[in-house]
């Protein structure tokens, strides 16, 4: 009993320490922020008066106008450096500096998003374990969460190392630019560093406290630790986002790039929030993909049925989480694009209809591939359920619907062309295709795909269950009608778009999205209610899934990594020849934008490098857990050692 009390005290102290770590950076930075707008949470207006008192030479204050907020502020920084193409501003190796930086950045981002996403999974899964009434299930969940955090711990140190390499690359290759950026963000850079320390601290306490804090109140404290951990992690990411947000849509500085003393303006730029949401969702989907790939790897490499069953289940959970965040991702992307258009129309045109438009065609193709693979996995997964056979014969129709949606979705509408190409075609749009690729039709395509994915999920959830509620028949008919009308509505809106002017047409995407979301929320909820107390027609036989499905998971993960690389490249290169959009020019020899093919090659390289290293991380993780299977093996009687082969 005494031990338990001590444990309790210790864990409460640990939680207190974590919260302390969380608050420390904020407290420490209070004086620095006093001149700014307080913490992001506070977000007050600029108390310029306070700043004035700090500067003794207040007699010679120079005022500047914020490029974005249009407020006046006291100039308190040097203008953005004007660089020139020489080794003083752009020191270089005998290689394209930008490619090196691209590589360092991308690898850090991959690992960073992985280690930020996995603790969020842990939190969700650990919580699911706590509230699960089934004891065996609870234990399974708990073990899974523990496995996850173990993987992310190894990746965590790699992230830190890669972060160090990234900063080093910046300092050696782009000193002028990095100097300028850090001069703007000086007040928050040390918060970032401290938060990073806090994140390390909490993740270790969280990991090593796992066994000690298994029961009762202690477990709840442990879960709250994961919440603190994730708050720190998310804040870290938001801060990092504010820098890229500043580079794309600067604020808080005047036209010459002089800092105006309000850090909140510099953080809270036009694109900050859409970027935050988009990245958070993207990280989660990406993390789900990586863990699913890990599970697939273990599944394919496993020798026993128990192992296969465990990793099949793990892959399923990871994939489900990943897809759950993949579904809202296009909507977040749509918001981001709207904000980009609102910020600078030219930037939006460069993205969607100009220089980078072909990359968006690739992206559209990839979104289609992602959804197709996710659906394929779900259909395969029905194979491990007895009773799901009844749905198999519908799958071919779903494939047809998905492919139709996909083809519509990737049809381009407007493209940049040279005047000669224009002349050859006699207009800006392709004589046939140009009539079809309008956005409301494209949105129709993607919404059909997402709605079908929702339907796949619902079928999967019902696979081995027969609803027993008294109104089951009505429920089924209602669900059928609702889905049917949803499809009709989406397709109708897509066609309707051709008959109305463009300014009305752009609005059609909102009802389309609302239709899809209605299906997602209402039908999932209805399904849950209907399946309450349902009769099981057969158990889920974990591990009895086809091998092909596991390759679908790997494909999903790889494609997701590739897409992340692609979107990151697009987001970054839309600045064209600016380090900081319209404030600081890139005068290096690499200020041009690469060809689509070069970008694709580079992304492939980054993706493969990431996967080769993360497979190594997985391999390291298996070294740690080797013990358990060995013990298991011993208990299996009559097991002969495998014969040695060459």
């Amino acid at each position: 009993m005494g031990g338990l009390t001590r444990n309790k005290t210790l864990s409460i102290m640990a939680l207190g320490a974590m919260i302390g770590l969380l608050l420390l950076p904020i407290v420490v930075s209070m004086p620095a922020l006093a001149g700014g707008g307080g913490t992001p949470a506070a977000g007050g207006p600029p108390p310029d008066v306070a700043k004035k008192a700090d500067t003794p030479e207040a007699a010679k204050v120079e005022k500047g106008r914020d490029v974005y907020y249009k407020t006046e502020g006291i100039v308190s920084g040097a203008p953005a450096p004007k660089t020139a193409d020489n080794p003083q501003f752009y020191p270089r190796y005998n290689f394209e500096s930008r490619v090196l930086l691209w590589f360092a950045n991308q690898q850090h981002l991959y690992y960073g998003s992985f280690v930020l996403a996995v603790p969020i999974f842990c939190m969700i899964i650990e919580f699911m374990g706590i509230i699960s009434k089934d004891k065996a299930m609870a234990k399974k969940y708990d073990q899974l969460a523990y496995d996850f955090i173990k993987i992310s711990l190894t990746a965590y140190s790699l992230t830190a190392i890669l972060g160090g390499i990234l900063i080093f690359t910046f300092l050696t290759l782009y000193p002028a630019f990095f100097g300028y950026l850090s001069s703007i963000f000086r007040p928050v850079m040390h918060i970032y560093a401290l938060l990073f320390v806090a994140e390390s601290g909490t993740i270790y306490i969280y990991y090593y406290g796992w066994d000690r804090m298994k029961e009762g109140l202690l477990k709840w404290i442990h879960v709250s630790m994961s919440v603190v951990l994730n708050v720190i992690g998310t804040t870290l990411m938001f801060l990092a986002n504010s820098w890229i947000g500043f580079m794309m849509s600067p604020a808080g500085v005047d036209e010459q790039g002089r800092y105006l003393g309000n850090i909140w303006h510099s953080i809270h730029t036009a694109l900050w929030n859409p970027l935050n949401v988009h990245r958070l969702l993207g990280n989660m989907a990406f993390g789900g993909g990586v863990v699913a790939a890990y599970a697939a790897y273990r599944f394919l490499a496993s020798k026993t049925d128990e192992e296969r069953a465990h990793y099949d289940w793990m892959g399923y959970i990871a994939m489900a989480i990943g897809v759950a965040f993949l579904i809202p991702l296009p909507f977040a992307g749509y918001w981001l694009m709207r904000e980009v258009y609102a910020y600078r129309q030219q930037m939006g045109i460069t993205l969607m209809g100009g220089l980078l438009a072909w990359l968006f065609i690739i992206q559209a193709t990839m979104i289609g591939i992602l959804f197709l693979s996710a659906n394929y996995y779900l259909w395969q997964a029905m194979g491990r359920m007895r009773g799901a056979e009844k749905y198999q014969r519908y799958i071919k129709y779903m494939v047809f619907v998905l492919v139709c949606g996909f083809l519509i979705f990737i049809t381009p509408h407007t493209m940049v062309m040279t005047p000669t190409e224009l002349k050859a075609m006699g207009g800006q749009q392709h004589p046939v295709l140009g009539n079809y690729g309008v956005m409301s039709a494209k949105n129709g395509g993607i919404n059909v795909i997402i709605t079908t994915t929702v339907l796949s999920f619902i079928w999967y959830a019902r696979g081995n269950k027969v609803p027993m509620v008294s109104w089951a028949r009505f429920g089924n008919i209602f669900m059928g009608c609702f889905f049917g009308m949803a499809y009709i509505n989406i397709i109708w809106l897509a066609i309707y778009g051709y008959y109305i002017p463009a300014n009305v047409r752009v609005g059609l995407s909102v009802p389309q999205v609302a239709t899809t979301l209605s299906c997602l929320f209402f039908m999932t909820a209805l399904n849950l209610v209907m399946l309450k107390g349902a009769k099981h027609s057969g158990a889920i036989e974990w591990g009895k899934i086809s091998v092909r499905s596991q390759y679908a998971l790997i494909m999903l993960a790889t494609a997701f990594t590739w897409m992340m690389g692609l979107m990151g490249y697009i987001r970054s290169s839309v600045r064209l020849f600016w380090h900081v959009n319209e404030i600081m020019r890139d005068n290096s020899p690499w200020a041009y934008t690469h060809t689509t093919g070069f970008a694709a090659n580079m992304i492939s390289f980054n993706v493969l490098f990431f996967w080769l290293t993360i497979l190594f991380v997985f391999f390291l993780a298996t070294l740690g857990v080797k013990k358990a299977p060995v013990e298991a093996k011993v208990t299996v009687p009559g097991r002969v050692p495998e014969p040695a082969t060459h």
């Binding site: 009505f474 008919i477 209602f478 009608c481 609702f482 909102v510 009802p511 609302a514 239709t515």
Partner: protein
């Protein structure tokens, strides 16, 4: 045309569907699983619901969903 383009008409239709559903569910439970009754009620609700979604989602953006019909 006038009536069809009025959101209140669709709201009324949706209300009718819901009332019918409630009536059948509470008073005539046996009828609920009758195919014709179920299809009628479901379609009534679904059709009305999506029209309302279309109308108000466009209205929210200051656009007119019924553009083509009013022209």
């Amino acid at each position: 045309m006038e009536i069809v383009t009025n959101p209140l008409f669709w709201l009324a239709l949706l209300g009718l569907g819901v009332i019918l559903l409630a009536f059948v569910a509470l008073k005539k439970k046996a009828l609920l699983n009758n195919v014709y009754v179920a299809v009628t009620i479901s379609l009534l609700i679904a059709v009305a619901y999506f029209h309302i979604v279309d109308h108000y989602m466009m209205d929210m953006q200051g656009l007119d969903y019924w553009y083509l019909f009013r022209k």
